[in-house]
Amino acid sequence: MNYRVLLNYIGKVILVEGLVMIPALLIAFAKSQHNCIFAFGVTIGALIILGLGLSLIKPKNQEIKIREGFLIVAGCWILLSLFGALPFFLSREIPNYIDCIFETVSGFTTTGATILTNIEVMSSSLLYWRSFTHWLGGMGILVFFLAIMPKSKAGGSLFRLMKAESPGPEVGKLSSKIKNTARTLYIIYIVMTIIEIILLLCGGMPLFDSVTTSFGTAGTGGFAVKNDSIMGYNSYLQMVVGVFMVLFGINFNIYHLILLKDIVNVWKNQELRLYLGIIFASTLAIAVNISSQMGSFAKGLQHGFFQVSSIITTTGFASYNFDAWPMFSRCILVFLMFIGACAGSTGGGVKVARVIILLKSARNTLQKIRHPKSVKAVMIDKHRTEDTVISEVNAFMTVYCIIAIVSMLILSIDNFSFESTTTAVIACLNNVGPGLDMVGPVGSYSAFSWWGKIVLSADMLLGRLEIFPLIILFSPVTWSKNK
């Protein structure tokens, strides 16, 4: 194990966290929130000192091996969450450190689950930071770091960092240089975020709300700055957020293809088609189901679309308390939590791409039962999916289910309702945020015990990093020599 490379990169990423926290400090200054100035000042100071210190450790061999790639990513995410929680704690606005960690992990992993029962009393600088964690975590902290880092001797092995952090069964590059790939992704991301901010401003949303809501949408996070999520905004604003959630749930390679004017391949993309298809069908089903409750079909369509878009992209904004909807609609929403957004987007969940692979390989297995000698490849976009990818997806699903079951068991000790317990785990593991019943769109996670919150925080990280990096970090085998 090359510990020096590990510490060096973790140090650099911690330094970046210190730097991106500075705008929050400036807001605290502008609004003279003295407890926040103190909290951010101390945290930024600590991050910069620690980051600089660690980045002084110069590795002899700069190459990042496969194992180190996973460890850097997992280590960074955990440390960033622990440090990112400090401002909440030091400002004494969230008194319990476990709660602070839950809130920050929920932010970075773009879950949007909150332990706050009254959001509106929080200082604006803290709310800004809370929403900014969504934005940074959405596209990825290491991808951000790769986009801004100076030239390094690690060369192509940096791709391992990107691969470990980016969601989806197969991660590719957009261009030959990893730095340009990371930059292109962030430029698309920034431009789309700015467009959303402008559209929200046009609809009369205040600047602070527009920025934080856009951060929440872009990262498909779901932290709002109002207690009633975005139910209080007019239907134009809700529509803008609804459409942008769908857009941020699309694989960013698609936007790159659009920039290259390769519309044919955009249209033929199977994942995109299925993703839009699911949204369309679910919206229609829910709209029919809730139209009588909502008063009209149009109203049902509007809220149905918003909620489907919010849940499938695993954002978690609510335009209506969907926990009060009929069972059929709520069931659909829970299924959508599992499916999640497209691979290579900022959304969470299992990912539509994995669903396609699973369905196609299941179909092939069925055919093999009928014709034992038959051979059939899993084709996606006229491209054969490698067997290693398929077995990785299968392993992912298995471990994913085990984690869900174990988490539910531990959480059930708290003795809340079945719906609350199961949907809390599902909503956290898939980075959605709100579940049903107690953890529904108007509820919060504050009632869970401290161990329950730790388990849910772990679930959020496992979901965002797609399980394997964290498992590798915590398996003893990783740390022993020559295994």
Partner: protein, 451 residues
């Protein structure tokens, strides 16, 4: 530059690694997704799975807007088709690797009519390199820079040599000629030595000297090996045939041992003056029977690296004056370079280097690299620059200039005049300067050599 490489084999991946390290935009095309995945995780390139001779694949690689396409698969015809397509799409330069020598012969036509910029023939490149070594058998390796006026030679200092226990600053006086020791390998460690460095027996050194002084240097160092009059080659592949042709032309008698009878017949047609033996060249008794201990040069060119190593060690054991070993995989060569295998030749590395030099020459802007040569088992490099007007420290005495660690100026060519530099010398715009540096120094342009 934008560079597309077709074929992710040994040549392709070596090139991809080198070129990506120098910040070129590299796209690699291959039809094996597994090797592409491995490459993607270690080298900063874009990869495309597919057949490089298919228009659609080339379009995806944006060949039309690329500067160079390098077709480096093992299939000659595929490589040529790749190049032709690329040229038609608008690629500026195309390079094809071909194994068959007939294509080299028709190069002129192909470059004029089909637009190929260069053909690289690995067996020919290897044969030429071996021939160059045989010309001066006293040296392990020989490279020329500054348009052939300066030689970089490698040798091992044996026990009792006059250089043993001498400091480098005394060498000029001792040898009464301008030479410069620019790199030393001792106990697996590479040094770029300073004047107070004291040489020891067993050191492998790289020496710069004007070509005209080369013969004198051999005499002074008392490392004369008799001129090579006959050579034994084991393995009758294309390298052997190319090499034998060159050797026969220069009056060296050649014996080739090859175990396949059909191959033997074929090469006997092409090499009328050579002795062709149809036998297993790895057979101990046969080698003795064929008088291996009396041969001047022994070259092992079978397809199996391990066999080559063994028979070369055997030849060294029998005190054959010059032993040359071909190795297809050269990653481990530093482990065995002092185990009696003589000079090591890696054809694919040579091919990659040849293409690499072409790419470097294409950049050809001021202050960039003119030629680049790997020395001391590829652990250090000699780089030739033409000094541009933006260069720092023009016309300053070298002793006043602070160079980076592990960097040394090996020679300056001023208006065709070769200077092996001393502290009082300087360089000016338009000079050719050869520097030697450890690989870790990462020299990209001339100004990189200064602190």
């Amino acid at each position: 530059m934008k560079i597309v490489i077709v074929g992710d084999g040994r040549v392709g991946s070596t090139l991809a690694k080198q070129l990506a390290k120098e910040d070129h935009d590299v796209v690699v095309i291959d039809n094996d997704p597994e090797v592409l995945n491995d490459l993607l995780e270690t080298v900063d390139v874009y990869v495309i799975e597919g057949n490089g001779a298919v228009l659609d694949v080339q379009r995806r690689a944006d060949v039309g807007n690329s500067d160079i396409l390098i077709a480096a698969t093992t299939n000659d015809e595929l490589n040529i088709v790749c190049c032709m397509l690329a040229k038609k799409l608008g690629c500026k330069a195309t390079i094809a690797r071909t194994q068959n020598r007939d294509y080299v012969r028709q190069m002129q036509y192909m470059s004029k009519e089909l637009g190929l910029s260069m053909i690289v023939n690995p067996p020919l490149a290897a044969a030429r390199e071996i021939f160059r070594i045989i010309q001066f058998p006293s040296f392990l390796k020989r490279n020329s820079v500054a348009k052939g006026r300066v030689e970089l030679v490698e040798l091992v200092i044996s026990e009792g040599n006059i250089l043993v226990d001498k400091a480098l600053m005394d060498l000029t006086k001792l040898l009464k000629m301008d030479v410069l020791v620019c790199a030393v390998e001792r106990d697996d460690e590479v040094y770029i030595p300073k004047g107070d460095f004291v040489l020891k027996a067993g050191d492998k050194i790289s020496v710069t000297a004007p070509r005209s002084n080369l013969v004198k240097l051999i005499k002074k160092l008392n490392i004369t090996t008799q001129k090579i009059k006959n050579a034994t080659i084991v393995g009758g592949g294309q390298i052997a045939v190319n090499l034998a042709e060159e050797l026969l032309k220069s009056g060296v008698s050649v014996k080739i041992i090859e175990k396949d009878i059909e191959t033997c017949k074929n090469i006997s047609e092409r090499l009328e003056d050579a002795i062709i033996i149809n036998a297993d060249g790895t057979n101990h008794d046969l080698l003795l029977q064929e008088g291996i201990e009396d041969t001047d040069a022994f070259i092992s060119l079978t397809d199996i690296d391990e066999e080559n190593i063994f028979i070369s060690m055997f030849a060294t054991h029998l005190k054959v004056p010059k032993v040359i070993t071909k190795m297809n995989r050269n990653e481990y060569s530093y482990l065995i370079s002092d185990k009696g295998v003589g000079s090591i030749i890696c054809p694919k590395q040579l091919t990659a280097n040849e293409i690499y030099r072409y790419v470097r020459a294409m950049e050809n802007t001021e202050d960039t690299v003119q030629t680049l040569i790997s020395i001391i088992d590829d652990r250090a490099e000699a780089i030739e620059f033409v000094v541009g007007q933006n260069a720092k420290n023009l016309n300053r005495a070298l002793m006043d200039i602070k160079l980076k660690k592990d960097v040394l100026i090996a020679c300056i060519s001023h208006l065709g005049q070769i200077v092996i530099p001393k502290g009082t010398d300087s360089f000016t715009e338009g000079d050719t300067v050869v520097i030697v540096a450890k690989n870790e120094a990462e020299i990209r342009e001339f100004n990189d050599i200064f602190m």
